[in-house]
Amino acid sequence: MHPNRSVETPGVPLVEMRNISKSFGPNRVLSSVSLTLAPGSVHALMGENGAGKSTLMKILAGVHHYDDGEIECGGQAERIQSPKHAQELGISTVFQELSLLPNLTIAENMFLGREPIALFGTLDRKRMYEETKAALEELDLKLSPGLLVSELSIAERQFVEIAHGIKARADVFILDEPTAALNAADVEVLNRQIARLKAAGKAVVYISHRMDEIFNVCDTVTVLKDGRHVASEALEGITESDLIGLMVGRDIKDLFPQRGANFEDVLLSVQDLKLQADSPPVSFQLKTGEIVGLAGLEGQGQQDIVRSLVGVFKPDSGHILVSGGARALPLPAREGIRDMQRLGLAFVPEDRKEEGLYLGLSVAHNVGISLHSQRPGLAWAKRYKQQVTDAVTSMSVKASSKDTSVGNLSGGNQQKVLLGRYLAAGMKVLVIEEPTRGVDIGAKSEIYTLLRQFADQGGAVLVLSRETIELIGMSDRIMVCHDQAIIAEMQAAEATEHAILDAALSTSSEANERAAVA
């Protein structure tokens, strides 16, 4: 593929960023990156974390200033001074972290910073209300402008941000991981809104780690790697693996480590787990050295199964056997996780920021906590310096030191710290949800390798993921859930996305037969 191959663009581009360079102190984060946004296009911006996507977008949004290069808006050279200036130039941003204020109404949020003023400096609330209503109606949203943002769902908040851009007559919309917190139905609505913006001749920049979304929504893609421009292409005619290849500079097969070979002793055994009183019983086993994936459509019970094993979810009944220790389900909510850890089963939740890590504490503390928690509450805290250092080194966590607070690390490194916590504590079974959520491709590969190493050293992993390719690549065996039961089981080496989806939808008789056999 030829770098910098230009894309056919109808008319004058809305925004043209040319040869943008930017350094933070000694770190050069962008070197000579170019981006052209044509009217009526949805432009995917891709690259690993740290590739410079966010920086580039923050420059466009006026949050950062660039060192070198030029920006043209509608054919006019501009130097974007501030977020406000960017808004005036018609650039609207929906950042990953939502920036609406929860205690203001939709209308107040829409006009914040440039409120209309009536007599005696009083806010012109009537005008705010009416113009907001019009902007919301343009998006077919039936929300009252007087609602507080805190009353809205996350999806609705994002739509309000888009409406905010429309209201400001923005031409360029930057959507930074807009679907990270949306469910499938809301993603559908969002896609409609994006199509609407496209039809109206706006340009949309779309940042996401989810491949299926990119191919569904976007028409053009620009790939960045290590702050450099790799390619700008029309998405037509590019395959998913081409794109990954561009991002990592290697083939997708190389992402995953070698599968396991000999599985011997049973480490984890779950018997007759019933999520609800009337749901079918679920039984399965994990052997040493094995990585087992749980697949299925959203909300088919796979997450509840996983969470039942550690007492976070309360199933109706069942039994669990972990390396010799038997427990009856449901586990007590308070003691469940600690009890399971004592038996050697660790749980890595999906939302590592909310449920897993102490973001304000250092890497060392986050790793050491599992070691400390194995000892009595009033015992002198040991320093565990060696164990922590070993864990951090073996995980190859990229942090300036062990004392860096975890909140400052990238998603991939945070996940490694969380894994390191349990590996340092000598766990046998790892139950992990979405191991690579919000993690870039390079770090994904490292995490797959770490999990495989863990299995090879006599552990077992139960993994839940929404990314089917990931499940096929990293697991040895895949179990497919449907309607609170495991309906099919297959060897990952022979599994295809199509077969898994078939089973998950439970449409083919083949899947049912397989379930009968299993």
């Binding site: 406000k84 204020l101 203001l104 806010l123 009353e151």
Partner: protein
């Protein structure tokens, strides 16, 4: 209907929980009126009003700072300082402007240390409180001096039998209402406080709001409201008194908290604060009538503050 009810309980409301203190106030009022003969007398009504008015004024200023997630512990010192300045041997045409110049300077320093030097508001204003109290005691170690006749007249006069106090109260409330609800300044206060309370302290800034300047102005406003309360008190006691101000510091915070304003910022209301101040004044008045010792009164007020703040946890109320 359900939505209205939820709103009144303070859930998803920017105004916080103000209905409960209102009910408590009405019940307390009714109970005192029935159970005590001295309560429902014109003299006691006057006392109650005189007690409540300075508290309402200070509390309104305090509320502006609290809405920004801050706290101003120097208001009591500003009140004492104001009475000390007014009790100087000088004409009112000099001392009254001097009072406001001092208040603006104090508010400016408070606001600057908080916004530019990133000092915790509690520490910044506590230090300021010590500085101002020191100066006040230097000027007037014990109560004494004479306040100009004009100030006395402005506070204790009456037209058609209605005391001036009522007009001053209405004027201050109107001014505060205009600032909080009828201007960009007020909306920006809520915006900045909402951002801070929800853990994204520069959210308002990204909307193009001058957050530091607005915060600075709120601290200046708070000091000026305290100075106003100081003038009011000086007119009543007709002298300068270093000990008159300090109780108002915590009383104002308590009144704000009772009125449903959240100490983490972004949620609260003017009417809630007025209700809170009235309820607190009613409590003091009732305890006075019941001959509760002043020390016990202080303890009870502390307990009320603790209970009110603990009750209005963020998860249940507001955002």
């Amino acid at each position: 209907m359900k939505a209205v009810f939820a709103h009144l309980t303070g859930q998803n409301s920017r105004q916080g929980l103000w209905i409960l203190p209102l009910i408590a106030g009405i019940v307390g009022f009714a109970w005192l009126a029935v159970s005590t003969d001295q309560f429902a007398t014109p003299q006691n009504a006057k006392n109650l009003l005189a007690q409540a008015m300075p508290l309402i004024i200070v509390a309104i200023g305090q509320m502006m700072v609290v809405l920004l997630g801050g706290l101003d512990l120097s208001v009591g010192a500003v009140i004492s300082f104001t009475t000390a300045i007014l009790a100087l041997d000088a004409p009112a045409a000099i001392t009254i402007p001097a009072v406001f110049i001092a208040a603006i300077a104090i508010g400016f320093i408070n606001g600057t240390t908080v916004t530019r030097l990133n000092v915790n508001p509690i520490i910044a204003t506590l230090a300021m409180q010590m500085i101002i109290m020191g100066l006040t005691r230097l000027m007037r170690p014990v109560a004494g001096g004479e306040v100009p006749e004009v100030v006395k007249q402005l506070v204790s006069g009456a037209v058609f039998g209605v005391p001036f106090t009522v007009f001053w109260g209405l004027l201050v409330c109107l001014l505060a209402w205009k600032m909080l609800y009828g201007s960009r300044f007020g909306l920006h206060i809520f915006a900045i406080g909402g951002g801070i309370a929800s853990g994204q302290s520069d959210a308002a800034h990204t909307f193009g709001i001058a957050d530091k300047r607005t915060t600075l102005l709120a601290y200046i406003g708070c000091s000026c409201f305290a100075a106003l309360a100081g003038i009011f008190l000086a007119g009543r006691i007709v002298s300068g008194d270093p000990n008159i101000g300090p109780p108002f510091t915590l009383d104002s915070v308590t009144a704000v908290a009772i009125g449903g304003t959240q100490l983490s910022g972004g949620v609260g209301s003017l009417h809630g604060t007025i209700i809170g101040a009235l309820v607190l004044a009613l409590l003091s008045n009732g305890m006075n009538l019941a001959n509760v010792s002043a020390f016990v009164q202080t303890a009870i007020k502390g307990a009320v503050l603790l209970a009110v703040v603990a009750f209005q946890s963020r998860k249940k109320i507001g955002l």
